[in-house]
């Protein structure tokens, strides 16, 4: 994006049906988006120095699902994915994540998640948003994905299957992506489930420095070519499972390729004088 293209201008250029108060039918607010983007863009550019590859694979318009791996014990991955579609796409697009239920339960997080279009991961939400030609972000690993410990940061846990049925029912392409670096930014060594239960969240990730505050590690997002599956969504489980494994394999491939490229760049740097 050009320097003259301000963050506010990018929000203004979103192709969403905002009303006279700058609010769309889902309650997404221009004012809140602008304020959130100020913070997220600063994190994206200067704190995490995010490198984004393959953004051309994300459709500029129409329904689509961004499906990727969880990386990091807190929602750094989701926040940076939606920042990438706001900053790197022309025209900018708002990616809408399917988030954990607890986020809408608490004050402040409920308000900001609602006003920026990040809704609870319910099939009703996903279907309606896709039918409205929105861009959906899905992490099929769910909360188990964010609970990955530091040694498992590049692995994938089991995927849910609901996202494939939704893609088939709504005729939505799936854009796979790999998110790299989140597990290093938040190096989880232990998940405190009991503490989480007390606080009303699934768990609290603990790091060697105790609090799950992200370190300024460079993050990478690698978008892959869209996958389109044909069907009605009523297929037998083994058929759906086959499609899930294809998406999972594609994401695993993007992770490996991203890691290899990252390693190559670092090795290259070392060779420089």
């Amino acid at each position: 994006m050009s320097e003259s293209d301000s963050l506010e201008a990018r929000v203004e250029r979103l192709e969403l049906p905002f009303n006279e108060y700058g609010v769309d039918p889902y309650g997404i607010s221009k004012r809140h988006l602008k304020q959130a983007l100020q913070v997220f863009a600063a994190l994206y550019r200067y704190y995490f120095r995010v490198r984004c590859f393959g953004i051309e694979h994300v459709p500029p318009r129409g329904r689509a699902m961004l499906v990727g791996n969880h990386s990091g014990g807190v929602a750094v991955d989701g926040a940076m994915v939606l920042t990438s579609t706001m900053l790197e796409m022309e025209p900018p697009r708002l990616a809408q994540s399917m988030v954990e239920r607890f986020l809408h339960k608490f004050p402040v997080s409920s308000l900001w998640a609602s006003r920026t279009g990040q809704f609870t991961g319910l099939p009703e939400h996903a279907r309606r948003l896709l039918e409205d030609d929105r861009l959906l972000v899905v992490f099929p690993e769910g909360a188990k994905g964010t609970a990955k410990l530091y040694p498992q940061r590049y692995s994938l846990v089991d995927f849910g299957t609901g996202f494939i049925r939704l893609a088939l029912q709504t005729g939505s392409p799936i854009v796979p992506f790999a998110f790299l670096g989140g597990g290093t930014a938040v190096p989880t060594v232990f998940n405190a489930y009991t503490l989480g239960k007390l606080l009303g969240v699934p768990y609290v990730p603990l790091t060697p420095y105790v609090l799950p505050l992200p370190l300024p590690v460079q993050l990478e997002i690698h978008y892959g070519e869209p996958l389109v599956f044909q069907g009605t969504g009523d297929e037998e489980d083994h058929v759906i499972e086959g499609y899930v494994q294809k998406v999972k394999a594609r994401i695993a491939g993007l992770i490996e390729r991203g890691r290899a490229e990252r390693h190559g760049r670092r090795s290259g740097r070392k060779l420089l004088p």
């Binding site: 009303n19 006279e20 108060y21 609010v23 769309d24 039918p25 889902y26 309650g27 607010s29 239920r101 809408h104 339960k105 608490f106 004050p107 402040v108 409920s110 308000l111 609602s114 006003r115 809704f119 609870t120 319910l122 009703e124 939400h125 309606r128």
Partner: protein, 310 residues
């Protein structure tokens, strides 16, 4: 058509009665509240309780062809067990009379709050969803039960064309209803850290929607809504009020004091979480088009209910 409106003395019911009368229908109503001017325009109001014997006499003698049931009440107007009796026994009596006296069509005018406000429910509620979070707002239980009971007429009385309509909050002139009462004061309490979406419909559009439902002979359950929902903070600001965000525990203590509106503790949930309805089924069935945008609705309310001087 001969249309009987139980609850005719309410603000929107009066407007509906007048519009039906102007459209050439014969209109009458039953209400314990008076509507003195009705007779002057040729609308007969039978004073009485729909649960009493006299109400059945109205059905027997006046022989309505259609009934618009607007005789339910909220926790804002009637407290305690009597509210449940009005909403449930009144609804049962009306449906029984309709079935016994050959009424062809009935509209049950319900509320979108049927779905309940909860953090984990879908943003847009379709008619196929069950009511949720009743434990949080027990004051809604009798209205929810009345709505579900009304829907049983769809199979209990197949000859009676029944439509259950779930309407959002209304705003307009003179500004009657739950939301209008809640934001009437200078200061409107909000729950700190939350700003739920609210669906609002202008009173004239409510009347137009009810007229369409009658004309089209709707059968089934329908959500009725107009413009897309907007945050409560926008409603408060654009009607000239001042929102006072307070933590929920403090708000519980302050309700009904210091100029804040009286509100049941359970209703605080609705100041946290949205109740928004999917109205596509109603639009397809009737072709309803709202006339007043959100800006119109808020302007009309602001003008008809100016901010009270302190």
């Amino acid at each position: 058509m001969r249309v009987l409106i139980p609850g005719i003395s309410g603000g929107i019911a009066r407007k509906l009665a007048l519009r039906l009368h102007e459209a050439g229908h014969q209109v009458a109503g039953i209400d314990i509240r008076p509507w003195e001017e009705a007779r002057e325009v040729g609308i007969e109001v039978f004073r009485g309780d729909v649960r009493k014997r006299a109400a059945e006499d109205v059905f027997r003698r006046w022989r309505p062809e259609a009934v618009v049931h607007m005789a339910t009440v909220t926790a804002f107007t009637v407290q305690g067990a009597e509210r449940g009796r009005i909403n449930l026994d009144g609804t049962k009596a009306l449906f029984d009379h309709c079935a016994a006296h050959g009424v062809k069509q009935i509209l049950f005018v319900g509320r979108h709050t049927f779905y309940g406000a909860a953090p984990d429910s879908p943003l847009y509620h379709s008619e196929d969803e069950p009511p949720r979070a009743l434990e949080a707002i027990p004051e809604l239980a009798d209205l929810v039960a009345a709505d579900l009971y009304a829907a049983t007429a769809l199979w209990r009385f197949p000859k009676l064309t029944t439509a259950v309509l779930r309407l959002p909050y209304t705003l307009g002139a003179p500004g009657t209803g739950t939301l209008a009462s809640f934001i009437r004061g200078r200061r409107v309490p909000l729950v700190l850290g939350y700003d739920p979406l609210f669906h609002v419909l202008q009173e004239e559009d409510v009347v137009a929607a009810l007229m369409l439902a009658l004309e089209k002979g709707l059968r089934g359950i329908f959500n009725v809504a107009g413009p897309p929902p907007i945050p409560l903070s926008v409603i408060v600001r654009e009607t000239g009020r001042t929102g006072i965000p307070l933590p929920a525990p403090a708000l519980r203590l302050l309700l009904g004091r210091g100029g804040f509106p009286r509100l049941s503790v359970g209703a605080l949930e609705h100041l946290r979480y949205p109740i928004v309805v999917d109205n596509r089924r109603f639009l397809e069935a009737t072709g309803f088009e709202y006339q007043s945008s959100v800006a119109d609705i808020l302007r009309i309310y602001r003008e008809s209910a100016p901010v009270p001087r302190s």
